[in-house]
């Protein structure tokens, strides 16, 4: 393989989660501003990360760390596969496995909060994974399952699929109305409750890789022959989706887990289905 391409790919694998960290900072800033307060600096997530890494670890059991590490590893692998131009579906499943490890980690300790948090996380996965899967599937079918051969410009073909990605992002970013697993009023910090210091940082890192992968999937909607235009478009679509989730977060209360699952399994899937049916009837696309 071309060494330059390899370097670029490695750089992306390292930089993508950092970019996610920055986006999370932007998210917190914007949220604060929507609530009419000043909010933290945009680099805040990095301060948090470094601080967590420097705290003295308190370990409940070895299993817990193993699961946290596995979660990070799988999410990183998913991203690597994606960036290296691998198979989209495999990357999806690897990422999914990473989320399962998060749940296992929550189940591995004896705290009832952690247990309930794990259950809810499982429910959340049940809610968003099918929609994400269908989105990946429709992207792949429309173009190619190999990211390296992917030719996009699919926004015009699959607008409803992109719309379905918004609630997926809402769940992944733990935002109202579907911030069910980490509902701190009910479960303090849900599945993360027994993780402290560096282990919490590992979990957060896993989250960053996972978001990088999912946001990567979202960038696939935009494609242009000119690489600069293409990159700008990709950035714009990511920011747009993020902005919409922040607005939704700020104008809703948390809904119950039943509503979350019901919504995702009906409306979420229906959006994708309608889009696909439309495409089979009019293969030329929507616009």
């Amino acid at each position: 393989m071309d060494p330059l391409a390899l370097v670029v790919q490695l750089a992306i694998i390292v930089l993508a989660p950092l970019a996610v960290g920055l986006l999370r900072g932007v998210d917190r800033k914007l949220t604060a501003r929507m609530q009419n307060r000043r909010g933290p600096p945009v680099v805040q997530p990095f301060y948090d990360m470094v601080k967590l890494l420097s705290k003295s670890p308190i370990l409940i059991n070895n299993l817990q760390v193993t699961f946290a590490g596995a979660s990070l590893l799988f999410q990183a692998a998913a991203l690597a596969l994606f960036v290296a131009g691998g198979d989209l579906l495999i990357a999806f499943f690897v990422s999914g496995a990473g989320s399962i490890f998060l749940v296992l980690g929550a189940f591995s300790v004896r705290s009832p909060y952690s247990y309930l948090g794990g259950q809810r996380e499982l429910l959340a996965i049940l809610a968003y994974e099918p929609v994400l899967f269908l989105a990946v599937l429709s992207l792949g079918m429309r173009s190619s399952f190999l990211v390296s051969e992917f030719r996009g410009g699919l926004l015009a073909d699959l607008p409803l699929v992109l719309l379905a990605m918004v609630p997926v992002m809402v769940i992944l970013l733990e935002k109202s109305p579907y911030d069910v697993p980490a509902a701190h009023q009910e479960l303090v910090s849900g599945p993360y409750i027994e993780y402290s210091g560096p282990y919490l940082a590992i979990m957060e890192g896993a989250r960053w890789f996972q978001l990088a992968f999912v946001l990567g999937v979202i960038t696939l909607f935009v494609w242009h022959d000119n690489i600069m235009v293409s990159l700008l478009g990709k950035a714009a679509i990511v920011l747009l989706v993020l902005f919409v989730t922040i607005v939704i977060d700020n104008i809703t209360a948390r809904l119950t887990r039943e509503r979350m699952v019901m919504f995702m399994l009906t409306v979420g899937i229906a959006l994708v289905a309608v889009n696909l049916i439309y495409l089979t009837i009019f293969p030329e696309g929507l616009i």
Binding site: S176, H184, E186, V188, A253, R254, R257
Partner: protein, 361 residues
């Protein structure tokens, strides 16, 4: 999934994100359904009634510290009791100032409660907005009384810190600024659909139960009991016109809306009081130590607050007994919680506005 269900016991508190205070609720859960609840109080028991009886002059400041949310109601209630023992007539000016300050405190307390409910159902932005408006009142009372929390404005026989003409202007201006903001909040609380989904029909507490458990204040008014001690006309409430706000739904939504509507009512009452302020002294002198016994009642933000004071002509009081609103309302949770979902627990608990510091005192 039900076959997998096993009963989990989860303790809520005494240190918990949704509660400000050390209240401990043990929930027995099946899956996420609450099948049993148990209250464990006393984390905040300091022994106030004993300490309050040591020196009636100093107790005036200690009784504010029974609770910082309705501190002024406590001190007014206490002073009212002692004034009854002395048999003195408090000047109208002092009574109006007490009324104004009590309504300001009701505003801060209700906005706190509303923000708290919003937070408990995961509506962070609304929580922030409630607290933003609350800060306007907090800074106002800071300017009026000199402290944000403990006003220390009362003395036995009146108020020791008068409200000057510029301060009257200040109150007027602030109320003008606050009213539209409260109206906007009211719109959100009334209409917001996700908030409605989390509050309508949740934590039902019908009127017979509310009567049986002896609840007071907004909790009972939200269950259709038209009782408001302010109608007794203590302080200057006999001078203002108002009707208690009563709702029939008896759920979290009703308890929330009663408080929201009372906020605007408080603004009305304050505006009505301001032009009534007469000239003259704000306090009368009392002489000697008190003797006899007296009951004193006020309508605190959370309901009827009652002091019983018995004195035998010494610096020490013979007995002082408090019956506080939260003491009546908190146990009612045992009737509301069983059968609800875990996700609804914080909302329900916060909707009775549990303040432990006076329940345990």
């Amino acid at each position: 999934m039900t076959s997998l269900a096993r009963a989990t016991v989860i303790p809520f508190g005494p240190q918990h994100a949704a509660f400000l205070e050390p209240l401990n609720v043990r929930l027995v859960l099946e899956e996420e359904k609450v099948v049993g609840a148990e209250l464990n109080q006393g984390y905040n028991h300091r022994g106030m009634e004993y300490a309050l009886s040591l020196d009636y002059k100093k107790s005036q400041y200690l009784c504010e510290r029974v609770c910082g949310i309705c501190s002024y109601h406590h001190s007014s209630c206490y002073c009212q009791g002692l004034e009854a023992l002395y048999g003195v007539e408090v000047p109208m000016r002092a009574r109006l100032i007490r009324t104004i300050m009590m309504e300001c405190q009701r505003l801060t307390s209700h906005l706190l409660a509303l923000g708290h409910i919003a937070e408990a159902v995961g509506y962070e932005n609304l929580f922030m907005q409630c607290f933003r408006e609350r800060e306007l009142i907090m800074t106002l009372v800071n300017r009026l009384s000199g402290n944000r929390v403990h006003y220390s404005m009362n003395v036995i026989g009146g108020v020791k810190r008068d409200i000057g003409p510029e301060q009257v202007k200040d109150v007027e201006v602030t109320m003008k600024e606050v009213r539209p903001r409260l109206e906007e909040l009211q719109r959100v609380f009334r209409r917001d659909s996700t908030l409605g989904k989390r509050t309508h029909g949740v934590g039902r507490f019908p009127r017979p139960a509310a009567e049986g458990w002896g609840t007071v204040g907004p909790v009972s008014r939200a269950s259709g009991i038209p009782r408001d001690i302010r109608q007794d006309g203590f302080a200057a409430y006999s001078e203002v016109r108002f009707t208690p706000i009563v709702r029939e739904e008896a759920d979290v939504y009703a308890r929330m809306m009663v408080r929201m509507d009372e906020c605007l009512q408080s603004v009305d009452i304050i505006e009505e009081c301001l032009p009534l302020l007469p000239d003259g002294p704000a306090a009368v002198q009392v002489k000697g130590h008190p003797t006899g016994e007296a009951f004193s009642r006020v309508e605190a933000p959370r309901g009827e607050l009652m002091y019983y004071i018995r004195a035998k002509g010494a610096l020490e009081l013979d007995r002082i007994k408090l019956r506080t609103p939260a003491l009546m309302n908190v146990p009612a949770l045992l009737a509301m919680l069983p059968g609800c979902q875990l996700a609804d627990v914080p909302g329900i608990v916060v909707s009775v506005d549990p303040c432990i510091c006076c329940t345990d005192r």
